[in-house]
């Protein structure tokens, strides 16, 4: 029960933060938001490729 209380209090904090910052100060157009999302996802893809390269090097297969 104590664990659930802690989890509930933590999620309440996060909900409060999301509410506090719900309206961004800088208005971005739809195009800019899509471009930023694409950039983030592309960079994450590149990091995954790096992870693959790391596994190859660490296991001596490269």
């Amino acid at each position: 029960m104590r664990v659930f209380e802690v989890i509930r209090s933590r999620t309440a904090v996060i909900t409060e933060i999301n509410r506090k910052y719900a309206t961004p100060r800088i208005k971005m157009t739809r195009g800019v938001k899509i471009a930023l999302l694409f950039l983030r996802l592309y960079l994450i893809f590149l990091v995954l490729v790096l992870g693959y390269a790391f596994v190859l090097k660490a296991t001596g297969r490269s």
Partner: protein, 425 residues
Amino acid sequence: MNLFARFFYKYRRFAKALRLYLIIAGPGIIVMVADNDAGGITTYSVTGAKYGYGLIWFLVLLGPVAYFVQEMTVRLGAVTKRGHAEAIFDAFGSFWGWFSLLDLSLLNWLTLVTEFIGMTAALSIFGVPTYLTVTIVAIVMAVIVLQGRYWTWEKLAILFCSLNLVYIPAAFLVHPSVGDIVSKGVVPNLSLGFNGELVFILMAIIGTTIAPWMIFFQQSAVVDKGMREKDISLGKFDTLLGAVFTVLVAVFVIIVTATVPLTPSNEPIASAAEAANALMHIDSYVGTLLAIGLFDAGFLGAICISLASSWAFGEVFGWAHSLNNKVKEAPWFYISYFMIVVTAGLVVLIPGAPLVWITLFVQVIAVTLLPAALVFLILLLNNEELMGKYRNNALQNIVSYSIVIAIIALSTTYSISVLFPGLFR
């Protein structure tokens, strides 16, 4: 007015400016010198060992690039009086805020692991066991932050920054040829050939010179220090001085390891610790200086990176998050700090972990994720409502977006070389 009086007034103005600068000095110098952390020293050591003096010109080019990026955080911090994490949440909303915060947290933790790798490798040369290094470092880091004042922390950090300069006498002690350095290193050249390995090293060098944690750290440090708009010009000078030092030290590290002989097994040196070990047998002073430098680099990086994360969490979660707060006033700030330090230190104790590869790859991951942090920084600096007369001018935007494009191009090139290795043979 006679000559003496003119000289006296000039001296007083200079002394006053110097006193003012010494009050403001700190965030810029610390972030730039801490940039030569254990991962950085390892990267430069491998660069020197593999490519000799051939990439010194690339490092020198990165000095102004690092200054351009970090100077923006000075303006942003001094004008908004907010840390970078909070600035992103406020300007772009919680979705982008959480994305940036989680990015930063993971990357900072990985980088902190590399700092512990460097520190344990450095002290192992003197026979200190890994678990003892990790324990002592964690305790010292705790004592430094718990003393309760940002200014004291800052002055200690500057002291560790000055130790970073040990690579300069080390470079002189190995008696490098200045003619070789100039002909092979200072003039840009691509005589090394263009392949995946070179791209990897270039990315690691960029990743160690400009890293996301530096953006978050310097902005938060500027705020914690209480800098205001009128301090921006001195803050810029502080950052410029730091950029000069960081490139200087990096170049001297490359000079040292470019002159280190091959290991007995005829393989080039693969880490800073290996370089220090090899030099111990040739010249114990140089080897010792390298080992001290590596430990200092790791320690300086560790105390800065762990703070960058704790500040970021504190800003977002609304905890008290200043080094000027006592533990009772800011419990979560200090708890998050210690949790990050302890968990990172424990990774180094895992037997058989490929520590040098982890170190190099973390630098490359840092540079790969850097464009995302840079784009938000540029967007913030271009907002007139936020920045007023301190917003970016056209030249700053051109340079900043060029950096973003160059990094994405390099990261993409490396990924292609990994997925299609035949293209680069």
